[in-house]
């Protein structure tokens, strides 16, 4: 008998991994949403407790349950990542299409913008933008949306250019189809996989950057449950031997980011027509 895995082809495997990843992420989000503020209220009698069954991730210096804080932080991060990545993808799509279809000048301007944003480290522009918009949730989301689009925009631009000059599009145009018809019926379906995969792959970036910005103390109020804030707080207590403050939240962040990465990869496999159902 053959092992189960080889019974499935590459696409089927990708499908299973994708479903598992989505289920896992849904569970995390649901946990984060279901926990209400009560569960991270202070309990001054139960401070600095190492992990137990009651508090699987231990408690912090105010007796707040680290499990709840971590999951609320993670779902906040996913929220920020979702809105941020969506914004970025939107910007990337619009700019990519504009530069590929609206002539040389538009192309030059957009390419210059892309180069400009790529030449400065993400984090620096992100901090600047977040700071200008007054910090907080809004600042971070806008910051992430405005900094993560360049590489995706470049891919979309190249993709659109390629499809535009493809024979079937040329023929379609010669046969009198309108630009709108060509854009919606020919070009968009072709770049949709790129957009989706790009969107998924922006996610882990967005989450990590959200964590980085809150870690540096630029984002949210220090009592809010954000993964970066939790990690930067834990630094102070590491020398006191309270390892659980950093270990579990850090590990969770790692898992989430890795899951999104996997999800992106597998969606690419699922959508790639060059990989057949071998």
């Amino acid at each position: 008998m053959m092992p189960t895995l080889t019974l499935l082809n590459k696409k089927q495997r990708a499908l299973i991994v994708t479903i598992l990843a989505i289920v896992f992420l849904m569970i995390v989000i649901v946990i984060g949403v279901v926990l209400d503020k009560e569960s991270i209220s202070t309990n001054l009698k139960h401070r600095n407790a190492s992990p137990t069954f009651e508090h699987p991730f231990g408690t912090d210096w105010l007796g707040r349950d680290m499990f709840s804080r971590t999951f609320m932080g993670i779902s906040l991060s996913i929220g920020v990542g979702l809105i941020g990545a969506f914004g970025s993808t939107l910007i990337a799509t619009i700019l990519g299409v504009i530069s590929a279809t609206m002539g040389k000048t538009a192309d030059r301007i957009v390419s210059w913008l892309i180069d400009l944003f790529l030449s400065v480290p993400h984090l620096v522009t992100l901090i600047l933008i977040a700071f200008t918009f007054g910090g907080g949730f809004k600042g971070i989301v806008i910051g992430i949306a405005l900094t993560h689009w360049p590489s995706l925009a470049r891919i979309i631009r190249a993709e659109v250019m390629q499809i535009r000059s493809a024979e079937f599009v040329q023929i379609s145009r010669k046969m009198g189809k309108s630009s709108w018809w060509i854009a919606t019926k020919h070009i968009f379906p072709h770049i949709l996989p790129q957009i989706l995969v790009g969107f998924m792959l922006l996610f882990p970036h967005a989450i990590l950057h959200e964590a980085a910005v809150t870690f540096l103390g630029l984002g949210l109020s220090p009592h809010e449950p954000a993964i970066g804030i939790i990690l930067s707080e834990s630094m102070k207590y590491l020398s006191a031997g309270m390892w659980w403050l950093a270990f579990f939240p850090g590990l969770c962040l790692l898992f989430i980011v890795r899951t999104f990465d996997m999800l992106g990869e597998n969606i690419r496999i699922l959508m790639d027509i060059n990989i057949d159902h071998k």
Binding site: W61, P222, H223, K236, A240
Partner: protein, 537 residues
């Protein structure tokens, strides 16, 4: 794929175990060096307190602790009594406006020149003109009666003027110039050897010092971050280290923990008036919820201060009832029973606060019992206190929304929202600043726009008093005179929470003398009696 994941996990496990091992407190044999008792007359301290503007008393140096390089006309002893330093006596006229101070005649600056009335006049005039944190507005003129007698004339009587004589170090007229703050010369117990900004300050004994010569000939002050201070203490590199409460549970070999009682207090200042008005800059004033005295009183009596001390300060603190706890001008009648949830509930119920829509938050008419409490985001203790108090108060049905923000933001919000503030001074004038209607909306003083005419009247009387016991009587009455007052049993414009003990790790065998009640600012005030420090026999 599977293999890759496994490899990743293995690498992670190794990295984490290395990190954790690195963090474990090492109990190796580095103590050999530490155990050798240092028979030296040198000290290394890490107690923060580096001044931004250098060592110039006319711009604010040396308000607390030892001014090191300079000396003052009067000083406070370990019991906070005012005693002579450069002065041999002082007199105040009946109307409280003219202060005459007689100076010692044998005092030399470290460069050998005599200290005379001219130097005193020069110091106060410079400080007055600098208009810095040194508040000498009440001073009209300073004159020399003779070479060793100075006459201060005030615009109005102010009994707290004496504090200006306690905290203002005298600078030499002949050696004062542009670079003075970096290169101070004075008549204090020590003189400057070297100052590396942001790193360290090295001082040596001033051989010309007129009073009891300090035991330690050379002192190095390190200006380290909190973490570096702790590391240095653990390595046995410092003799005194200022540490945060979170570290107080750790044993450091060769050092003992000194928890000094303080009036370094933290409390919540409430907007006292109803909303509607705006300041000159257009910032909103007042808050309808906190303007209700039942809300303020209920919070005051419901808060479990001991739980805050144990939970946030690791037990190193004392309950705060006013801004001047345990000081000579504190009125002990202001102490009340706290952690009284039922009392607070009854109080709220009796004044018409009811939960009409069953959401766990009380209402009174259309008003919901909720308000924002701001704290400076970078201050962990204030953050912890804010969250803990909000959670304590929640069962009462009062919803405190906690917001961390920068001071810039707080300055915009502080007149219309509660703020977690801190004060604590050896000068009773601070109580006047914080509670007097004259200081509403001025700097960080009366941000709640508190006003009680009776309290103002006591303040004026206390300032006009010529004798300090009489003044103290009025300061006490301002807090509570039996019917009204600024304390929590009176109008309760604040909910004072805790006084934070100042924690220091002190090398075993080092005697830091008797330390009085410490003022606001953890660190430098410990040097107040640095001349008395010595190795115990």
């Amino acid at each position: 794929m599977k293999k890759k994941l496994f490899r990743l996990l293995t690498v992670m496990a190794i990295v984490f175990s290395l990190v954790l091992a690195g963090c474990a407190p090492s109990k190796s044999n580095q103590s050999t060096e530490k155990d050798v008792k240092r028979e030296t007359d040198e000290l290394v301290l890490s107690i923060k307190g580096e001044p931004d503007t250098g060592f110039d008393p006319t711009t604010g140096w040396g308000r607390y602790g030892s001014p090191l390089f300079q000396s003052t006309l009067l000083k406070r002893d370990d019991n906070l009594n005012i005693v002579n330093d450069l002065a041999t006596s002082y007199e105040v006229t009946k109307d409280g406006k003219v202060w005459t101070v007689v100076l010692r005649e044998d005092v030399q600056f470290s460069d050998g020149k005599l200290l005379t009335a001219d130097d005193v006049i020069f110091t106060f005039e410079t400080a007055l003109n600098n208009g810095s944190v040194v508040d000498l507005n009440v001073l009209d003129k300073v004159e020399a009666v003779n070479a060793h007698t100075v006459k201060f004339t005030l615009k109005e009587a102010q009994s707290t003027f004496i504090n200006s004589l306690v905290v203002t170090g005298i600078v030499p007229k002949h050696a004062y110039g542009k670079g003075y703050a970096e290169n101070p010369i004075g008549s204090g117990p020590y003189q400057l050897v070297q100052w590396d900004k942001g790193q360290q300050l090295i001082v040596k004994v001033n051989p010309k010092y007129y009073d009891q010569k300090p035991f330690f000939q050379k002192i190095t002050f390190l200006f380290l971050s909190e973490d570096a201070t702790i590391a240095a203490a653990q390595a046995g590199k410092v003799d005194v280290a200022a540490i945060p409460a979170s570290f107080s549970k750790q044993q450091v070999p060769g050092m003992r923990l000194e928890a000094l009682q303080s009036v370094d207090n933290r409390g919540i200042v409430f907007p006292y008036v109803k909303s509607g008005a705006v300041t000159k800059d257009g910032l909103p004033i007042g808050n309808d919820v906190t303007a209700d005295s039942a809300i303020r009183h209920a919070i005051n009596i419901a808060v479990d201060r001991q739980a805050l001390i144990d939970g946030v300060l690791e037990g190193h603190g004392s309950k705060a009832y006013t801004s001047v706890d345990s000081l000579p001008w504190w009125n002990p009648e202001t102490v009340f029973e706290d952690a009284d949830m039922n009392g607070a509930k009854t109080l709220l119920h009796d004044s018409g606060w009811k939960d009409t829509d069953d959401d766990g938050i009380l209402e009174k008419g259309s008003l919901k019992a909720e308000f924002s409490l701001y704290y400076p985001a970078e201050d962990t203790i204030r953050q912890s206190l804010s969250i803990a108090v909000a959670d304590m108060i929640k069962p009462l049905g009062i919803n405190i929304k906690v917001e961390g923000a920068s001071w810039d933001t707080i300055e915009q919000k502080m007149f219309s929202n509660a703020v977690l503030m801190g004060w604590g001074s050896h000068d009773p004038h601070e109580m006047y600043d914080v509670y007097s209607s004259r200081y509403t909306g001025v700097d960080y003083y009366n941000t709640g726009f508190y006003k009680n005419e009776k309290v103002d009247e006591y303040f004026e009387k206390a300032l006009a008093a010529t004798d300090s016991t009489e003044a103290i009587e009025y300061w006490k009455k301002a807090q509570w005179d039996g019917t009204t007052g600024l304390s929590a049993i009176g109008d309760a414009p604040w909910a004072w929470l805790v006084n934070i003990d100042h924690l220091y790790l002190v090398k075993n065998g080092l005697d830091i003398g008797k330390q009085g009640i410490q003022p606001h600012g953890h660190g430098w005030p410990i040097t107040n009696n640095i001349e008395d420090w010595k190795w115990a026999e």
